[in-house]
């Protein structure tokens, strides 16, 4: 079952075409990697899928909602986390959860329940009245992910979620992603780390506003006869560089 369908997506800013006729589907529950160099058009596409920006043309549906007309409903059913992350440093863990719970319209009971569930899962329950600013970066990152999942969205968009985090924490972060994926949540993730691309079920590589490749990491490696995703990426994004 497809949870995101994108047909002939075009987004232009004046004469500049950021997304040139994109076509892809994301299946329910999969981890979908969205790769590309800076300026390839990833962010533009994500903004459209999140209902932040209207496409110039194309048929796009996310979680069953139309991105032109049903942005309100769409926003209720997706979660979002970016590298710059979403938690307020001068609020405590609980206050942050309460805020996002409130914004997504969860009742107070539900918020309390989800807080206990989520913090016990992260083994951070005793810290619930600690200011976010006092936590190490890795913890904040994991917490931000859990908060993005607070309202039990169908899809979570992760925009370079592991930027600036050490390898061990990144590994732990991916454990959380797998866990969410196993419980049926669809993960749409962009990353700069090619080793992370290997963790995805399927990967898309964008370059200059178009999709150059879309397949499982293994198929891509085979097709481009590369040892790892890094080589695949370089062959696609920088075809004139030879090794």
């Amino acid at each position: 079952m497809n949870i995101i369908t994108v047909k002939n997506l075009v987004k232009k800013f004046g004469s500049f075409t950021a997304n040139d006729n994109l076509n892809f589907e994301v299946r329910k529950g999969e981890i979908f990697g969205f790769l590309g160099a800076n300026g390839a058009g990833k962010t533009t596409a994500i903004r459209i899928l999140c209902g932040l920006s209207t496409p110039t043309s194309g048929e796009i549906s996310v979680a069953g909602y139309n991105v032109y007309t049903q942005t309100e409903e769409l926003k209720k059913n997706i979660g979002y986390m970016s590298q710059k992350f979403s938690l307020y440093e001068d609020l405590t863990i609980y206050e942050n959860i309460e805020l996002y719970g409130g914004i997504y319209g969860l009742g107070l009971k539900k918020i309390k329940h989800r807080t206990t569930e989520l913090l016990s899962n992260l083994k951070m329950y005793e810290l619930k009245d600690t200011l976010i600013g006092k936590l190490p970066l890795g913890w904040k990152q994991k917490l931000a992910f859990s908060v993005a999942m607070l309202h039990e969205p169908a899809i979570v968009f992760l925009d370079e979620p592991t930027g600036g985090v050490d390898p061990v924490t990144r590994r732990q972060f991916w454990d959380l992603i797998y866990e969410a994926s196993n419980s049926g949540v669809t993960i749409f993730v962009t990353t700069h780390y090619m080793d992370e691309a290997e963790y995805c079920d399927r990967v898309t590589i964008m370059n200059n506003g178009i999709i150059e490749a879309l397949d499982t990491p293994n198929n891509l490696k085979e097709k481009y006869s590369a040892k790892n995703m890094n080589e695949v990426f370089i062959k696609i994004a920088r075809p004139n560089i030879t090794h």
Binding site: L52, S82, E95, G101, G102, I103, Y104
Partner: protein
Amino acid sequence: MKKFLSFIKKEFLHIFRDVRTLIIIFGIPIAEILIFGFAINTDIKDARIAILDLSKDATTQQITNKLLSSGYFMLETHLQTSDQIEEIFRAGRVKEVIVFEQNFAKRLEAEGKADIQLILDASEPNTANILQGYTSNIIYTYVNELNNLLPQNIVINSTVRMQYNPGMKSVFMFVPGTMAIILILISALMTSVTITREKELGTMEVLLVSPLHPTHIILGKVTPYLVLSFINVISILGLAYFVFGLPIKGNLFLLIAECLLFIFLSLSLGILISTVSKTMQQAMLISMIGLMMPSMLLSGFIFPVENMPDILYYISFAMPPRWFIEIVKDIMIKGSGLQMVWEETLILIGMTLFFIAMSIRKFKIRL
């Protein structure tokens, strides 16, 4: 609505957890009012005056005695001709000259009215204003006493002439001026900084992805500042009235409504600044240099607009505080009603709508 409330709660938490913000919001306004208030010495004793009595009758003598026995004035000299007025002011020997017209008592008796002219050295505007107040008061009391005794009412017209500073920056100017500056500081600067902060931290993106409507995000960000600014207006007026004995002659509700209008204007300016700036520093710079400085210098708060060179005078039209100060001054000191200040009020409303329209346009372009 619930969503909106949890957002506002968070905004208040931001404010109350940040000591610097608290100081700016509550410390500065009170300190500013107290400093301005106490720096202006309202207690004047034994001011030197000169009297030019062209009538020299019993009534003028009585008034002179009343003035001199009040304790506020000391007679420097009696002048003989009006030519001496300029001279004695230039010599800096007196602060005020009182001129009784010819046939003062006779006119009072025959026509029931007579003229006194008060000429003041307004190079020290505060002193001049206070002295004028004292003099008028004494004359007024005297006329009242007479009227109680006499069958028909008499009137003494006192005309006031301010020497050297006809623009007359009044002692009471500091309240409207400070109020304007403080409201701009809190409403415009603080809101522009707090909105850009969310942009800089990246939380704005997360909020935009959430089901909260962008309008609600902006409203949620400015509501706490609206509340706090309003509290500030009330405390400034309270301080001015109870501590410094400033009059509020006009309608208090009109005054508060005008203050609210100015708060809205400042908030919309703050929003506009936040839509054009990417970082907090940028927002702060624009607010301080682009807004606070011209507001202080060109609004008539520090320099009277009437004395400005033509170009600056016309630029001052574009300064929202200029109109606000005018309105507050009129309502508080002159006791004007809406029919006297509707033009200024319309200008402020127009500016507010303009800033809101600009912000919406900028916001849309950014998305």
